[in-house]
């Protein structure tokens, strides 16, 4: 709670020049309510969703260690509240696009854990038949537009998806996720300009987990307040406590409403943290064990909800255990599928290059 309040007040410090009047109004009315509270159902939902991501990623880490997954594999552990809170703010038909740290986004979009895990192990039942791997998966059915290994590339694509939404007058908003590191790619600013110029329904969600590989934000960014990155284009932005799923959902609702109502793009800087290494082999010399430990102990997004479920909603140990057991079952089933599913046929190499 204290963190959330501190972070929320930090977003107050965003100079008014950054925001248009309407955006300021939207935000200040939200702030009057304080940190939005969750109903018991919402807390339970968020808990289950975040736990699924956490357990899935832990399992992927183990399977990597066992040699069942090879190559690159970027875990989302620590950042779960961002995608779960945002997803809770969406409505049917909204799209999601992100970079390579994408397993959490796919699970939150409702994609099947089996298909995601089998893609990691490179099996035929994976979302890209094993040909894409951890960074490259899609689901048209779930409105998930990937999964992109090239840092920053998804930002222009998300902007284009938003253009298509407007063109088709379909009322959908494209949630376009990228990292603090990706925020320095040139195409991000080309996209910002177009999005505001054409008032496109896109929410840019900058997941600021403080590092891009081994580079701390302050060593790579002249402006470390990412909510201001759209300032010169008049895109409103705010900083959000990305470890508090309630704050994320509340900010997500403001931003999505803004975009959906035709006012154009909106930027949310999610202040979050990744607990694990950048990918699977990361000596992590760029930060102290202490720093990681402190985040885990004091700000863990799942623990925050778990405490509320116990203290506020009086859930019993058994009820929580039942949720855990259900989540573990999904993850174990996914792991088993991904271990036993056959590899794709060599003939599959040539499919889907062109029609």
């Amino acid at each position: 709670m204290a963190v959330a309040a501190r972070k929320a007040s930090r977003s107050d410090a965003v100079p008014s020049a950054v925001k248009s009047r309407a955006a300021r109004k939207a935000q200040s009315s939200a702030q009057k309510k304080g940190v939005a509270s969750f109903t018991k159902e919402e807390d339970l939902f968020a808990y289950r969703e975040m736990l699924l991501i956490r357990r899935f990623e832990e399992k992927a880490g183990q399977m990597y260690g066992m040699g069942l997954i090879g190559g690159f594999c970027h875990l989302y552990i620590g950042q779960e509240a961002v995608v779960v809170g945002m997803q809770m703010a969406t409505k049917e038909g909204d799209q999601v696009i992100t970079g390579y740290r994408d397993h959490g986004h796919m699970l939150a979009c409702g994609m099947d854990a089996k298909g995601v895990m089998a893609e990691l192990t490179g099996r035929r039942g994976g979302y890209s038949k094993g040909k894409g791997g951890s960074m490259h998966m899609f689901s048209k059915e779930k409105n998930f537009y990937g999964g992109h290994g090239i840092v920053g590339a998804q930002v222009s694509l998300g902007t284009g998806i938003a253009f298509a939404n407007r063109y088709r007058k379909n009322d959908a908003v494209c949630l376009t996720y990228f990292g603090d590191g990706a925020a320095n790619q040139g195409q991000v600013y080309e996209s910002f300009n177009m999005a505001e110029l054409w008032k496109l329904p896109v929410v840019y969600i900058i997941e600021n987990n403080r590092y891009a590989m081994g580079t701390a934000v302050s060593r790579a960014s002249a402006q470390t307040d990412f909510s201001k990155r759209g300032a010169s284009f008049n895109i409103p932005g705010e900083q959000v406590d990305g470890m508090d799923v309630r704050a994320v959902k509340a900010a997500g609702e403001r931003a999505i409403e803004w975009a959906r109502s035709g006012k154009g793009p909106y930027i949310l800087e999610m202040q979050t943290y990744r607990y694990r290494g950048h990918s699977m082999s990361d000596p992590a010399k760029y930060r102290s064990k202490d720093e990681v430990q402190r985040m885990r102990e004091e700000h863990d997004p799942i623990e925050q909800v778990r405490r509320r479920l116990i203290d506020q909603w009086k859930l019993s140990e058994d009820e929580l255990k039942a949720v855990d057991a259900k989540v573990r079952e999904i993850v174990n089933e996914a792991a088993e599928f991904a271990t036993n599913d056959p590899e794709p046929d060599a003939a599959e190499l040539y499919t889907d290059v062109l029609r």
Partner: protein, 337 residues
Amino acid sequence: MPRMTMIEAIRSAIDIAMERDRRVVVFGEDVGYFGGVFRCTAGLQQKYGRTRCFDTPISELGIVGTAIGMAAYGLKPCVEVQFADYVYPAYDQIVSEAARIRYRSNGQFTCPIVIRMPSGGGIFGGQTHSQSPEALFTHVCGLKVVVPSNPRDAKGLLIAAIDDPDPVIFFEPKRLYNGPFDGHHERPVTPWSRHPLGEVDAGHFTVPLGKAEVRRKGDSVTVLAYGTMVYVAEAAAEETGIDAEIIDLRTLLPLDLDCIVESVRKTGRCVVVHEATLTSGFGAELAALVQEHCFYHLEAPVGRVTGWDTPYPHAQEWDYFPGPARVGEALVRAMEA
């Protein structure tokens, strides 16, 4: 003589170049503080300070574009693009600016930059960490393109590239960083410390750009290869028992045509191998040159063994990678023709 991995050899080359010439500056993503994701620049920031070896934001276009500007005004940037697969945002700057500044300015301005990038597959990198885009650069006049295959060459070629007055694209086959790789992925890697080409002079030396090296003498068929495929070709010759002459091109631009022509005129047969995709690959250029210069000596069509014309898959890496079995088949075909 000290033993070095390809990583250590590259680091040693940059170190020596920085030591000898204050105009040399080194930068890229995670290059300074962290020392590079493959550790090729480890320790250089400590030694030369943050103004000469530094980190950049994730901005490939910015990295290359500023390097070109620096070079035009007398510096000698040696920049790293973390993986060759990330170079495309910078492609415009390389093609439109780096390659043409000399021509466009009547030689008043030049562009002495080196753009280093790890390339090639064999590490389960999938489609965005395995590519071999050399042909996108050999097609551009005004660039030099280098692909070393061992620590000794990597060091000598890199020093030569940094010394060079023109822009050099320097590919580092990442599968070779720690040891030669012949495509037999199921076998353990022999480290460079146990390979003769892991012996690298600790001091300053160069391997000239534009000079190929015959890596295996033979009379039956000429194999033109570079990077990882040199070892795959050696394995294929070994396994088929065909007396192949294997040429490690080392530099694609400028190309050592004399070496190629001399060999093919001797053997009368030629197989070109590369990891990159087939269509419009550098192998097409090589095959065209061979037929142009050696047509009356040829006893078989020039063969090509390459990656398939598809993106690099995550699964089926070893179906994709042109390993010794496929190269061996091409050698047999060339001999039977």
